[in-house]
Symmetry: D3
Subunit: 280 residues, 6 copies
């Protein structure tokens, strides 16, 4: 994952537009020091590259001690950085805060993967583009660390048809004919259509669409629909979205869907990373 | 609040680096259309300026219908935008997703303000700098919409002494002498020291420090400490941080603190904004 | 297509970092003026949005007279802009030069589409990511104007396996097993493998790969291979790359491929746009 | 030549906004590897600094093996980079594509310099500002590598009077009087006027203009005009533009001009650089 | 102080958008060389971090020989850099010019601090936000090097009430009531009000305002007002602004004010730094 | 002069990273208001475009009342802006501070032009590139408003040979031979050499150099040298630099130089612009 200087400096500048008033007023900036990051709770690690890059960009000597994607016991030391107290204090909260958000996402993703795959070992947990605005790169990295997949990077590289698109077609015939042309026009991409009933899904699949994404369909109905669709369209991929979370993931996994699409993993508490800074 | 073109374009580019594959493949980009945003749940509104600026930057004609900070009933229409389907689809999810996060923060902030002030009408809900990295401007705006206050903008404009600073002083005498000098050196800023016991707080307050911020002190102890500190230091401001959330806010409000410092409001679900796009 | 202020200003700044020395030294900057762009040769129009945005950003009043993608006769007037001579001279060469490159790409793309589809009406002309570095957005827009398709936006959204990847696998068995896992891991994207012989293509297709991209295979061999692959893998998409240009496109179209992948369209002369500026 | 981080990251981001889907899905990112760039055809080398900077910025260990401006035999190895397969694949196409365009420009420039100077050893090949928009720095570097000169950096540092300027003068007298003042007003810059007939050139030269640039004048007429102008204005520099390319350069060199101004070198095929990546 | 790559590259690009025409035309770019910076006059050093970062960013090997804030004798060598002549010439003027401005600010600040504290050892010299636009980071660093304090970072982190604000209140009662609420609403910041008479200052101080800033009050009146205010409001901080400069600082220091607010230090000549570049 | 959004937003962000604490805390942001800028002293106006662009970018309705370059009497109203108090306060100090610096530069430039041309009507006042780092565009605009000329935009577009270049030549012969080649290699630019004695100037001029720039030569010597050089080299342009300021300009003008090169105009006080904001 490419972490640009622009991204790293935007994160730093949010916390440190100029100098660190406290550290400089207290006169401790030049003191040699060591900083240690450790996981306060059991978690799936993420954000290590961002944290390392932030701290190195500020001038610290960084020693990463664990890898993204590792499941850690509470208390595990994950990163050690050395440098002046000024440098370490400058990067402390930026790196810590970023990592806490990343670890939160990675841990929730990993939990969903584990629970979902205990039912269906090939189930894909695909994370939506509804990450916090401004935090896309960090979020994508954390999803990957947690074993999830990116649903869409954005509007430019993927085709997903919503009701807000179909509203522009006067007749279903016109819509389906346009979809058939789209299948031919985009032979290198999978086309996805959001559906909420079986009938529409059947018609759309018949156009050659690659993926049906059911929205807010309860697992009870979904299981039947998946079976019927897969019987008729062997190559069809089926996704479910809307209400997929750590509570519901196993019920959805049982329906036979291929992909569980979720924004749940962006939600919830960052996971605490304890940080200590000490003189050397 | 200044919303720079740079910020607005970064948000747009996260979702739309080039063109909108779905809308263009379906051939509906040029169709005149109208888009409406409405609150799916009761909430405190936020993110209106960002949403309007995003949509206008893409070329839409935007009509804001409600103001940031307003408490809305579920279902309230908040914004209407007109333009080509291409323009509206380009901005839809960027504006919606941003607003859902903003409304989530504003609503949680407002709830804490209401609950806290039901006990102490002058209580300040001060939000930490632990917002999601990359989302600072949006978060600050949402806090303001919810009636909260910004605790620190960052390291450069405020003084907050942590254990990670005091670790660099060999003796308490040296630390306290340095604090006294800091009080003189920074006469235009309030100096804040994080404490977790009364004894240290008393010593620090005697140095002329303006604000004591107690960290993770249970309300039971806090009430007594606040009383003792205020008796001796009439001008002292007292803040509490660590574990302040919608459940605990009233217990903390009863302790007599002036400021409740919280990261809670960044946590939790975005609040759904329903968006429809229709042909005109 | 989103044209960011950042992009537009980068283009302007390349030509106009500060002021226009000639126009200002000659003292004509304030004179009201009109500028007209017309196609010197028959061509497929592109770059209209970029040119309009550049000129409007500098303060001109712009009237676009033709649409991207239109096939024009030599001499057709495409855009008129009004403003001070200073404003029009500031944008003249930036807009003209950009449009000449865009029209060159669009025209070559369109010619390939016309020639290819005279043989196979569903043939897709897919343009590689080998555009001139720094000119990606302009190039993608011009391809679209010419009726072409984007092969890959870049590394992050598409899967294309080259020899430079397979070199890391000790055995073909290991490679094929990994490909099978990749098919499961990326259910929302089509997986493409570059091949140069039929045998390898057959094995790869059997892993569930969606697209075979043959590299530098002469049309004579290709026709036979396409037939054999399509017989066995009904859903397989077949692309050809390497040496696809305006001369060879019809020979390749006859082979039965679905997609002709080409960098040819980036090559060759910009197509002249005549620009006159006159006093009003 | 200053290669800013901003420029280098813009090039990288065009191809790699987030991660490399293929390399990561195939699980080979961490494998130690070596990448080699070699010239597929005889050429004049360029783009070495950009390629090295791109690859180093991504974390590779780069060993440049040849210098910009060197004339290479087909097959010459020019650069070797070591790093993880993930790092090398991240930079491969960005560096390769950039270098192919740069080598194309440098080789065409060098060929024109060689051919032109075989007639007139002091002939200057000056390249116009009509490079591909967004590729200015790369293009300027490649021109320099090929032995060419930059005609104008842009509008702010050079004076070149076109018909689109003179259209704002009611009388030739007014125009010439203004030119005389311009000569005094800009004593540190050479003033250039585009002409297409001898009479106008004579008048303009008499104003003290430093350079006459003839546009689209055939070599036959030009030779005579150059002789007449040089006889009368010993210090005058004469340039020719319009239709100067590898075919016409020698005919123009024979006319006695000092400068051949050309956009030809931006046109034409990038020159292939072969790239292999192998495990170490 | 965080010196971002963006800032450093903006400074470099102002002087070196592409290559160094002189050094390259003369053919000396590759020659190994050493550059030395020394203070031409006695001064307080500043700008060392910026100069080092600029030169390192361009590829030089930098050896800083003195520290920011040091008072230097004329002729002191402060920095030595090694690299190719091309690299050193690229950074020469950018670094020198920046440092001359920084040293000018630091030296004027230091002189004011010394003169002011000879009267009142606790006097704070607070520098306004009226630095040259675009030079904020450099200016803040230079102020710190000179022993000054930053008055306000900007509008977002500090409260300073001017007449241009009070003009919006119909009655003094309304204004004072609003100020009282502001004191409660912003418990973590000091509130400052600009005054020009004692009566208004008394009323404002009674609202709980932390700092009175007198504007353009002559020292004769000020001394009396300070005494009266301090008698009544023991915790009140008093600042003076308007006409505070190296001539007037001692007269103001005698009035008993706590803070002298000045823009004077931004004014005046940069202090010459002599720079030599020699072959190695 | 092109004023990019990037530049304008950098200026705004220096003062207003987020919101305006004072104006919002006082609750006056929404009040309709008018702001007026007027010159406190007689001056030459500059910075009008920047001020207008800043205020418009923030949402104000701006009415410029005077033009850049006009000589104004003290008290002249130059700009009126209308908008909410929030918008006007947001832009007040940014626009005012920028304009005060610009007017300072323009006024000093204009005074030098007037004084110098009272002696030599064709004298060019050329301003060096030693403007305050970060303030280049503003400074260039102000110089132009004052009637000055830009000496060099930077290193990339102009040739100026210093001792720090000649130090790399072992013999004068080698240096002069290289200069002769440079004259041929750069036929579209004037070549400038810094000299401090007549002998070297004569040799350099004989190489075909266009401009001799004498550094720190007193007017007494200079007059004689100029005469001797001009006698021998009719086309030679002669500049003087070092110690050129408002006091010395007339003495230098009398020497017969063509160009007075100065950094003086960047030095000295900004000229006060009075700003009032009132309710509408």
């Amino acid at each position: 994952m490419f972490l640009s200087t622009t991204l790293i400096e935007n994160l730093i500048r949010e916390d440190l537009p100029y100098s660190d008033l406290t550290t400089e007023t207290m006169g401790i900036s030049e003191h040699p020091a060591v900083m240690e990051f450790s996981a306060r709770y059991a978690c799936t690690l993420a954000g290590m590259d961002e944290a390392s890059t932030i701290l190195r960009h500020l001038g610290a000597n960084v020693e990463p001690l664990e890898k993204n994607g590792t499941t850690l016991a509470a208390g595990t030391l994950v990163l050690r950085a050395k440098g002046s107290a000024g440098v370490l204090h400058a990067g402390w909260k930026v790196a810590q805060n970023m990592m806490e958000h990343a670890v939160g996402i990675a841990t929730r993703t990993h939990e969903m993967v584990i629970k979902g795959r205990s039912i269906n070992p090939d189930l894909i947990i695909a994370c939506t583009r509804k990450c916090v605005p401004g935090a896309k790169t960090i979020s994508l990295n954390a999803i990957q660390a947690g074993g999830g997949t990116v649903h869409r990077l954005g509007l430019s590289e993927s085709f997903l048809l919503f009701d807000n698109h179909t509203a522009f077609f006067n007749s279903e015939d016109h819509l389906l004919a346009t979809l058939k042309k789209a299948v031919i026009a985009q032979p290198e991409r999978k086309l996805v259509v959001e559906c909420d009933d079986l009938d529409y899904a059947m018609k759309v699949a018949a156009c050659g669409i690659d993926v049906i994404q059911f929205d807010k369909v309860p697992p009870s109905s979904l299981q039947n629909w998946v079976m019927q669709l897969k019987k008729r369209f062997a190559h069809l991929t089926i996704a479910a979205a809307g209400g997929i979370n750590i509570e519901s993931i196993q019920a959805y996994a049982k329906t036979g869907i291929d992909i569980a699409v979720t924004s749940f993993i962006y939600t919830g508490k960052p996971l605490d990373i304890a940080v200590t800074i000490k003189p050397l």
